[in-house]
Symmetry: C2
Subunit: 171 residues, 2 copies
């Protein structure tokens, strides 16, 4: 038997220092979140799993619908936009999640073959009353297609660690 | 060579007659949309594709986060709820899509192992001004976990064909 005590589990690798804390999301800030291609395969796969309404799964049903042809689930557009948000800033920010979304509008159908383009604008910002180390940021996200038409807009609060609070804890 | 003209493409199978038209969604109606099990595999797969924030992908990062342990993306909860909506009534209704969502609230984390339970309540109903054959229904959806806690609520308008308008077109 080895008399040495068991080695402690290795500490998790330290997360990289975020580039953006709450203080950086000042009202008026606009960020370009880049583009996403909408494929037929991904449209059908998402619909089959989460939104199997005939107009999201079958060409004939889609052509007979208000959408005119096969279109992506609105929730798929949300999910694709979330990916652009993660790649565009959240995964380089001290992001702590979100309590919700307002004014989610599916303004035009999103079709396979479309290229989405997402942008965010910071609307307001404040410290969280119940957690002073956390700041809240209200943003508006706007998603356009390759024709420049708005296909989806939404607003919502995000929670971010405060840089000053982190420094205080570290010191 | 076969001199007969090519047979026309078979007509699409007629969609089954919906059980529910706009008229059936009367304010105060409550529908139970059933249950969905949240698996670790599905949680990780959705996060990897659409919401790759560390607290949705890695146990250690999740334990250090406000969520306390690995939790599902809020958009995954929306998508799972949409599936319950489709299975619970939309795919047996004359559903025509939705223009958007209000007051989407992620109230508590959704964890792998949870069982979600969704319900909808009709809040109000009116004919669409620009399309008199279409009726609008505003509903509230409420999603609870196995402890009975609300994990997500949202409200939104759905578009449905009117039974009377359909009958007029058919006659």
């Amino acid at each position: 038997m080895d008399p040495r005590p068991a080695a402690p589990a290795p500490a998790p690798a330290p997360a990289k220092t975020p580039r953006w804390y709450w203080e950086d999301f000042t009202p008026g800030l606009v960020m370009d979140l880049g583009h996403a291609a909408v494929t037929r395969e991904a449209t059908l796969a998402f619909a089959a799993q989460f939104d199997p309404q005939p107009f999201h799964l079958e060409d004939a049903a889609a052509e007979a619908s208000l959408f005119g042809r096969l279109s992506a689930s609105g929730w798929h557009t949300c999910a694709m936009t979330m990916r652009l948000m993660c790649d565009g800033y959240l995964n380089d920010a001290a992001s702590l999640g979100s309590p919700g979304i307002e004014n989610l509008r599916w303004l035009k159908p999103v079709y396979p073959g479309d290229t989405l383009h997402a942008r965010m604008e910071v609307l307001e910002s404040r410290v969280m009353n119940s957690r002073p180390a956390v700041g809240l940021v209200r943003s508006r996200w706007r998603v356009t297609n390759q024709a420049g038409d708005d296909v989806m807009t939404m607003e919502g609060w995000g929670m971010f660690a405060r840089r000053t609070a982190v420094a205080a804890v570290g010191g």
